[in-house]
């Protein structure tokens, strides 16, 4: 087999070089286009008002780092940030507390209505919060949770159940039940065997799910926009619009604040990107 390969090596390598160059060209283009909005945001965040509205410059003439400090006094940024952390963190905890047992039951037990429950979980993805906002608003009014961070936490947790259960069920099903069975024979209860045997092994999948929910809740905009009216309870996604007033937009502050909202999420996302995708695929494809 090696001989015919050797005889045609020359033309292939020229073709290969061209393809290589083309590949790098495409990848570079994609990266530049993808990063462009972020680059524009960063440049704008470093300009002053006059420079922005007169246009004509790409890079700031003199980088105005003070914009990044000013936003904290011009709007209750610290409060928005704290609210975002509370909402995303709370949603994650509740989604996991409800989702782990459900995924465990789906992966390890057989019961009547299992398929129906799974079907419901899948169908629930069809209902985005925005389409149900009117209903959500009424439920929240009844529970006294409008204009309340707790309300947003429950909504985010509920609407992330599908993903949580889906990803975790896939993770649990990928792990052999033998160890847990051995633990049960040694006298462990189901809860103990899950906590001590299954969860440590499933840790990578759990962390991926956890971070994914956190990001979803952190980035949520629509429900927060609708339910929260008090400035003190707004998360970052809604709060930064303080700089996007009716009369004028303070682009430099809007983008400086945006960068604070983006950075933590992008870092988290890059950590889980690989696991998340294989999880999504195995959940969706393997069933």
């Amino acid at each position: 087999m090696s001989q015919p390969v050797n005889t045609v090596k020359k033309p292939v390598s020229i073709k290969k070089t061209i393809l290589r160059v083309l590949l790098y060209f495409v990848v570079l283009d994609v990266c530049v286009i993808t990063l462009y909005p972020y680059f524009a945001m960063l440049c704008t965040a470093l300009k002053n008002r006059v420079e922005i509205f007169s246009g004509g410059t790409v890079l700031p003439v003199v980088p105005l780092w003070s914009n990044f400090i000013d936003i904290w006094s011009r709007a209750p940024m610290a409060k928005y940030m704290l609210n975002s952390v509370l909402i995303a963190g709370g949603s994650t905890i509740i989604a996991m507390l409800c989702g782990i047992p459900a995924a465990y039951a789906l992966a390890r037990m057989k019961f009547k209505g299992q398929t129906a429950f799974l079907g419901f979980v899948i169908v629930s993805q069809m209902f985005a919060p925005v389409v149900l906002l009117i209903g959500i608003y009424q439920v929240m009014q009844r529970l006294g949770l409008t204009d309340n961070i707790l309300g947003l936490i429950f909504i985010n947790a509920a609407f992330n159940q599908a993903f949580t259960i889906w990803l975790l069920r896939g993770t649990f099903m990928g792990i052999s039940a033998e160890m847990e069975q051995a633990a049960t024979i040694d006298g462990c209860t189901r809860v103990q065997s899950m906590m001590k045997v299954l969860l440590p092994v499933a840790a990578p999948g759990i962390v991926t799910t956890l971070i994914f929910i956190f990001i979803n809740a952190w980035n949520e905009y629509t429900v927060a926009l609708c339910l929260i009216s008090t400035d003190d309870y707004k998360p970052l996604t809604v709060g930064i619009n303080t700089f996007n007033g009716y009369n004028m937009i303070e682009w430099q502050y809007l983008f400086a604040a945006s960068i604070f909202a983006i950075i933590p999420v992008v870092i988290l996302f890059m950590c889980i990107e690989k696991n998340l995708v294989s999880g999504l695929a195995s959940g969706g494809v393997k069933g």
């Binding site: 994609v30 945001m41 799974l118 009424q138 629509t222």
Partner: protein
């Protein structure tokens, strides 16, 4: 698992007390146990997803005052009002254009990008990390950035193109509502591509390299391999990604809300921005709920296809 698990000594006394009933109650417990495990999840979704769904359906068939009080059923008056309003046809058309354009174009581009990123090359990890950016960024911020970039007076797109020398005077990128809508679609595509790319990538990575080697030995060209090996094998990941995308894009609110709020005169409205305005700006909750229900019905078709597909796959596994 054995039915009789040896009890720990500390608990044995308590167990002995319950002994006569234990095997019967154990059996009963076995039966209800799974439902206890799924109960928290069911309660959470029942209160915060199912109840709103029921409410929306109820409201869609009721006469609702501006304050949100229900004043009895009015048959399908809300639906007929919505369907008769001239804006609705435009909004529906926009929604369909929006969904199809974003999903189709981002699927094609995302698939191509996945093929590119599946090659081994220097800096592949960095490239993959960069491509994730739009997926991780909240849509409001993404849309604000685009809004700024395409601004005709001071946007950076004009500045950049003038610096490069491609244009000599600032171009008005959004002369018509249609042009604005096209930019919203572009933004939608931009943020949707990463999801497709990564779903396809995961499918690509599970393909055994020996298939390609065998095909190369048989003298198959690049496109032959693409259509007879790659596509069939990533079909399932691509299907899942596409169905999920249809649902997400159909229900996508922040991009349009941030860039145009559906203005001028519903020209850039989709169903979700339209219903938001109906409900929370015009106080027409009944009609807004009717729009929601119409949206469900459209999506139901997609979701049922998805559900049948995934559940059938699941049954094959069992």
């Amino acid at each position: 698992m054995s039915t009789k698990t040896p009890a720990a000594p500390a608990a044995s006394q308590e167990l002995a007390r319950k002994a006569p009933r234990s095997s019967k109650s154990k059996k009963f417990f076995r039966k209800v146990e799974p439902y206890i495990w799924i109960a928290p999840s069911i309660i959470l979704m029942a209160i915060f997803i199912v109840t709103p769904i029921v409410k929306v359906f109820q409201l869609s068939m009721s006469k609702v005052t501006r304050a949100g009080l229900v004043k009895g059923y009015n048959n399908f008056e809300n639906f007929s009002k919505v369907l008769k309003s001239p804006a609705f046809a435009l909004v529906l058309k926009n929604t369909i254009v929006w969904t199809i354009a974003v999903v189709v174009i981002s699927t094609v581009l995302g698939f191509m990008l996945a093929l590119v990123l599946n090659n081994k090359f220097r800096g592949r990890k960095v490239a993959r990390a960069i491509v994730v950016f739009p997926w991780a960024t909240t849509l409001v911020i993404q849309a604000s950035a685009w809004n700024f970039i395409i601004n005709k007076d001071y946007g950076t797109l004009n500045t950049l193109l003038m610096k490069i020398g491609l244009i000599s005077a600032p171009v008005n990128w959004t002369p018509t509502p249609g042009a604005y809508f096209a930019w919203e679609i572009a933004c939608g595509i931009f943020v949707t591509i990463p999801f497709v790319t990564f779903c396809v990538l995961s499918g690509l990575q599970s393909i055994d390299a020996s298939y390609y080697e065998a095909a190369t030995v048989d003298g198959a060209g690049y496109f032959q391999k693409l259509f007879s090996i790659t596509l069939p094998l990533v079909k399932s990941s691509l299907t899942v990604a596409t169905v999920l995308n249809i649902i997400y894009v159909f229900n996508s609110f922040p991009i349009i809300w941030t860039m145009t709020k559906g203005d001028p005169a519903n020209h850039t409205d989709t169903l979700v921005t339209y219903l938001y305005k109906l409900a929370f700006y015009n106080g027409k909750q009944g009609e807004a709920s009717a729009v929601s229900v119409i949206g469900f019905l459209i999506l139901l078709v997609c979701a049922s296809v998805y559900m049948i597909y995934t559940l059938r796959k699941g049954d094959d596994d069992l």
